[in-house]
């Protein structure tokens, strides 16, 4: 049983309510931070903790906080990114739905550290019922004196507001989120200026993911150094993984980043193995944008060492033989899944979600979708595979925001590791409509097929 810092109380009956949450030790970090710490020492503790942004990019949170500009007389804002939209990712939803006060607690401490008197939670529009849960938690916290004016008599004022989005993946990108919060289309801004200098309403702004802000609570309670002792290397603390696809136990798991991928997939404590006794074919370990890996490269690195569920190990080998921890959206594909079709649905997703500002992304995502649909429906030609490769290369790095890269990487990785499956589709236009390529080259090397 690994260490649990976020979900340790998730199964306590009634933990969603303020009274139970408080009885279980909730809001201690607010008392400690506001009464015993200065804003600078809080930022220092977060730096010491080694916490990295849990939304996907993995940027050190303490460093991000230290960038915020503090011009005289200009309000600053903390914005919580709850726009969770990366396919395969549903961890923030779980956290907000079952432990809303944990997020509120983390938000109060973080707002204090950053000097935000009005903090916003930008939540994806589809999570409508969670908006109600959060607003209720905010009302309860306010009634108990943790929000509002002069909190704990320290002179610090803070209010938290929840704004629903309206269906746009791109609003998970922080500058698009800011545009959306201002009532505009979610078109990402060109950086610089970074939000820390000019964010929402051109005021200094920090945008952090839900899980990142919840992790501030154990960091304050334990101290940054103690938090950093959990995990390994630069993967400190715990990480929520949302596991889905063809596994026995889909769900949200908190891991301490020292376990192997093999243990995560096959142990009963986590995914419980592949569904219906089938064999593992491939996995997208960090949300749909990160490279898909065939079973052999997922479980062991190219050097043959076990692969671990952390930032460094999952990216070992770069994009040639590795992937990324990303958002922790762990998508498992069994032997019956078609890589071409899976890649096609993801390409369609990115075409649908491209904001349309940058030509390479707007045109490229639609072009990739059409070619993939052509191959998937048995009308592909061999030259289409090279064309796909060419298009994704010309999107990557050529757009304002990372959505272009996010659309390019899944296509690139699918061709890199499963080119023979694409060729099989082209060579077998009829057969590919009724059966699939299966496991031909990429069986799991540890759990050898019987």
């Amino acid at each position: 049983m690994g260490v649990k810092l976020l979900l340790d109380k998730a199964n306590v009956p009634g933990i969603r309510t303020y009274d139970v949450y408080r009885r279980e030790g909730g809001y201690r970090s607010v008392e400690k931070a506001l009464k015993e710490m200065t804003t600078d020492t809080i930022v220092e503790e977060v730096k010491k903790s080694g916490l990295r942004g849990r939304g996907g990019a993995g940027f050190p949170t303490g460093m991000k906080w230290s960038f915020i500009a503090k011009p005289e007389g200009v309000p600053r804002h903390l914005v919580c990114n709850a726009d969770e939209s990366e396919p395969g990712t549903f961890k923030d939803r779980y956290l907000m739905e079952f432990l809303p006060h944990l997020l509120i607690e983390g938000l109060i401490v973080s707002s204090y550290a950053l000097g935000s008197n009005d903090t916003y939670i930008y939540i994806r529009g589809e999570y409508a019922w969670i908006t109600d849960i959060l607003e209720q938690a905010i009302d309860e916290a306010k009634a108990a004196g943790w929000l509002g004016k002069n909190i704990l008599g320290t002179g610090f004022d803070c209010n938290i507001h929840v704004q629903r989005g309206a269906g746009a993946y791109i609003c998970g990108e922080e500058t698009a989120l800011i545009e959306s919060l201002e009532g505009n289309r979610g078109n990402p801004r060109i950086k610089p200026p970074f939000p820390a200098i000019q964010g929402v309403w051109m005021r200094p702004t920090v945008v952090n993911n839900v899980e990142t802000l919840a992790a501030i609570v154990p960091i304050i309670n334990l101290g940054g150094e103690e938090y950093a002792k959990i995990g390994v290397g630069k993967s400190t603390g715990t990480k929520l993984i949302s596991a889905c696809g063809n596994i026995n136990k889909p769900g949200v798991y908190e891991i301490d980043m020292t376990i192997t991928v093999e243990e995560f997939i096959y142990s009963d404590e986590y995914c419980g193995g592949i569904k219906d006794g089938k064999k593992l074919k491939a996995c997208i370990p960090g949300g749909s944008s990160v490279p898909i890996l065939p079973a052999n490269l997922l479980l062991t690195t190219a050097k043959g060492e076990p692969r671990y569920m952390n930032y460094e190990s999952l990216s070992d080998g770069g994009f040639a033989t590795g992937s990324m921890l990303g958002s922790g959206g762990f998508i498992v594909l069994d032997e019956d899944q078609c890589i071409v079709k899976n890649t096609y649905t993801l390409a369609r997703f990115y075409r649908h979600e491209s904001c349309g500002q940058c030509s390479p992304c707007r045109e490229g995502t639609g072009w990739m979708e059409k070619i993939l649909q052509k191959i998937e429906t048995g009308k592909g030609e061999m030259s289409d595979i090279d064309l796909l490769w060419d298009i994704q290369r010309k999107i990557e790095g050529n757009t304002i925001c990372p959505l272009g890269d996010a659309a390019a990487w899944p296509v690139a990785a699918a061709i890199r590791h499963f080119r023979d499956e694409f060729e099989w589709h082209v060579n077998n236009p009829e057969l590919s409509q009724t059966s699939n390529f299966g496991l031909q080259h990429y069986a799991d090397p540890i759990h050898v097929p019987a």
Partner: protein
């Protein structure tokens, strides 16, 4: 239906606007459009959008460009219940194709269409963040997860009964 918020809706609208700094009332546009869509028949007519623009003292074009950008705003009339079925990767590998086919057959409509009785609209959507509970669809504020054909049957029956009781 007159396009004017009633008292309850207007109170909610004022609460939304009050969350933002003075002069930044445009920030309330997305929540205001949700409120308007819920208040005026489940979709946003030009009249509705112009009304929201006037309330926020912004230009109508600022509302149109936002309403056309986000997928949750319906720009034409929809059925009483909208079935928004996820079709992205994780749902697809968990069998969403079968659910979509079954819904098409059972409701006898194509995605984007509404049943003749005006009850159901079928909409195919991209990832709704329910990947571990796939296949799934959203109906109004609610997620219906772990869908099977039997479950789809009972969901349709549930909403038909709900409509009959109203």
């Amino acid at each position: 239906m007159a396009t004017i918020f009633n008292d309850t809706q207007m109170t909610e609208f004022k609460r939304l606007v009050a969350r933002y700094p003075e002069g930044k009332q445009k920030s309330a546009l997305l929540p205001a459009l949700h409120l308007a869509q819920d208040s005026f028949g489940g979709w946003l007519s030009t009249e509705t959008m112009d009304y929201v623009a006037s309330l926020l003292t912004i230009e109508p074009i600022e509302v149109y460009e936002v309403a056309t950008f986000y997928s949750m705003y319906n720009l034409k009339p929809v059925g009483k219940f909208v079935f928004e079925v996820c079709q992205t990767g994780p749902c697809m590998i968990s069998g969403s194709d079968n659910i979509i086919d079954y819904l098409k057959k059972t409701l006898d409509i194509k995605p984007g269409e509404t049943t003749k009785d005006g009850l159901f609209t079928l909409k195919l959507v991209e990832c709704l963040g329910a990947c571990g509970y796939a296949p799934m669809m959203q109906v109004g504020k609610i997620y219906k997860e772990h869908l099977t054909k039997e479950k789809v049957d009972s969901i349709i029956a549930e909403y038909k009964a709900q409509a009959a009781n109203n």
